[in-house]
């Protein structure tokens, strides 16, 4: 019955040997079960050893010690092959799989950022320029209109305004896809700008920005990841935290870059909320963690309900540019 429920016995009653072999292979056992079995095995070995040594008469103590050692060795060598080796292989496989997932994640984020960058550039270069051209033409028309043609003038002025607005919106949208300031000026200026933007849109929140030890540029994926985490954290604070004060700190502590975002808000209510996504960066806490781990870094969230939340991201930057 139990065998059947485990899938080891087929419906017709015959044993499913391949499944049985799989289940018996220690490499698939839980480590705790494996440890228990191994301990039991050692106990049996010790018991047999004691039994043999106790019930035999040896010519000299040296021979007794040799027999003692031999019995232990006979018992322990299969244990090495049966227990330790499969376990080691499994650990190695797990580590390799983890590395692969990390690598794939990294590739995924890179591709996404690349797409955003391309899209932003296209918006700037293509649509932005067309709007500028339109503006030039509208201005020219405005210059050629006589003062007496007041209705036409009004219309053209309105047209000029809407063209200006379109240009502004395009630039803003492109910037939200991928802030060009990050490539041009680096992390500090970008974070400063972003903090300023958030404060501008949410005057009820005060945000301090502080930085120390950051003297060089970092690889592009490190920079964009730090920016995205900051963006997402501030977004969360504005959306959910109900905070009045927050701070963003960027510190280089060799060999890691550390971003800390703190707020004095409500804290995170429960673990379920980790999945909430930010429409801009598409991240959420879970996503932030994945992005940081993809770069081999650590991500921590500490929250005290009703008091504060701290988000910390640490990325190793051996490849600093």
């Amino acid at each position: 019955m139990t065998l059947m429920s485990l899938g080891l016995r087929r419906a017709d009653g015959s044993l499913n040997f391949s499944a049985l072999a799989k289940a018996m292979s220690p490499g698939r056992w839980k480590p705790s079960l494996l440890l228990a079995t191994f301990t039991l095995w050692v106990f049996i070995a010790e018991f047999v050893d004691m039994f043999v040594v106790h019930h035999s008469r040896f010519a000299t103590p040296t021979i007794e010690a040799a027999v003692d050692g031999a019995i232990l060795l006979i018992f322990l060598s299969p244990a090495y092959f049966l227990f330790y080796l499969p376990l080691k292989i499994r650990w190695q496989q797990e580590r390799a799989a983890q590395r692969e997932v990390q690598l794939l994640n990294r590739k995924l984020f890179e591709t996404a950022e690349d797409e955003r960058r391309k899209l932003a550039l296209e918006l700037h270069d293509h649509f932005g320029q067309s709007v500028t051209e339109m503006q030039c033409r509208v201005e020219k028309v405005l210059g050629q209109l006589k003062p007496s043609e007041s209705t036409a003038r009004e219309e053209v002025v309105a047209l000029r305004q809407s063209v200006e607005q379109i240009g502004h919106d395009i630039r803003k949208f492109a910037s939200s896809l991928r802030p060009e300031i990050l490539d041009d000026m680096g992390l500090i200026e970008t974070l400063k700008w972003h903090v300023r933007e958030v404060v501008e849109n949410h005057p009820e929140l005060q945000i301090d920005f502080d930085t120390a030890g950051v003297k060089k540029r970092f690889s592009s994926d490190t920079e964009i990841t730090i920016y995205r985490v900051c963006q997402e954290s501030l977004h969360n604070i504005v959306k959910h935290a109900n905070a009045s004060q927050a701070s963003v700190t960027l510190v280089y502590s060799h060999p890691e870059l550390i971003l800390t975002v703190r707020d004095d808000g409500d804290g995170l209510p429960s673990r379920d909320d980790n999945a909430t996504e930010c429409p801009i960066s598409g991240l959420g806490l879970l996503g932030m963690r994945e992005r940081i781990t993809a770069l081999g870094g650590t991500f921590e969230v500490n929250s005290k309900p009703g008091e504060r939340t701290t988000v910390r991201a640490m990325i190793p930057v051996n490849g600093a540019v």
């Binding site: 201005e139 550390i258 640490m314």
Partner: protein, 226 residues
């Protein structure tokens, strides 16, 4: 008799600007565009034979950043005034441009008449800033002036090695443990500790920890884990 014509050189990689602006400026009698280029190096070559009064320069260029190019143009033509004409509406760009020697900053997308105004202002040696940027620039100015000297200033003086030692110290390691994990002699580790204290102005470990917490290097919740 009007003054001598104001000579302008435009550097922008977008044909719309390179062609549109001259056609617009054509309406102004006292200005003329004497040349244009779509790359910084191309511009430098052309400028050997020309001496414009005002150089209108874009920030995003295919071969190098316009911000970095300002110094090159100032070197080539010390008398020419540089006016940035850029789509970036961020204070950091204005700051970098003005520091590098540009006199004006006009945002693309503002009325073209603004560009004319800016060219005139810059030519007479005045600073010019697009009205849409003024608020941000003034606000930054005000904030930076009112900020007290940053307490974190000392941290910038630390070398990478000292940063490492500092991080281990505040995470609770003893000098001996540090010397072991970083492969230093205990004496060297002790030296680092003293020099860190001097640079940060901290008298003891407790002050160092406080300093580190302020910077977010350690967090009380995850004490010693990092």
């Amino acid at each position: 008799m009007v003054d001598r014509c104001l000579d302008i050189f435009i550097i922008d990689d977008h044909p719309v600007i390179k062609e549109g602006v001259p056609s617009f400026l054509g309406d102004c009698r006292d200005m003329r565009v004497i040349g244009s280029a779509s790359e910084v190096h191309q511009a430098l070559k052309k400028l050997r034979y020309l001496s414009p009064d005002v150089i209108v320069l874009d920030v995003s260029m295919p071969d190098m950043s316009g911000l970095d190019a300002i110094a090159l143009f100032k070197q080539e033509l010390p008398d020419a005034k540089v006016l940035m004409f850029s789509m970036h509406e961020k204070e950091a760009y204005v700051h970098r441009a003005l520091r590098a020697g540009a006199l004006g900053y006009v945002v693309k997308g503002s009325p073209i008449s603004e560009l004319v105004e800016a060219i005139r202002a810059v030519h007479s040696g005045e600073y010019y800033l697009s009205p849409c940027m003024r608020k941000e620039v003034y606000q930054t100015y005000l904030r930076d002036r009112q900020e007290e000297p940053a307490e974190t200033g000392g941290y910038d003086l630390l070398t990478e090695r000292e940063q490492q030692v500092f991080r281990l110290l505040v995470a609770g390691s003893t000098t001996q443990q540090i010397s072991k994990s970083l492969n230093l002699s205990p004496k060297t580790a002790e030296k680092y500790r003293t020099s860190i204290g001097k640079k940060l102005g901290t008298r003891n470990l407790v002050e160092m920890v406080k300093y580190a917490m302020q910077l977010g290097i350690i967090d009380t919740e995850t004490w010693g884990q990092s």
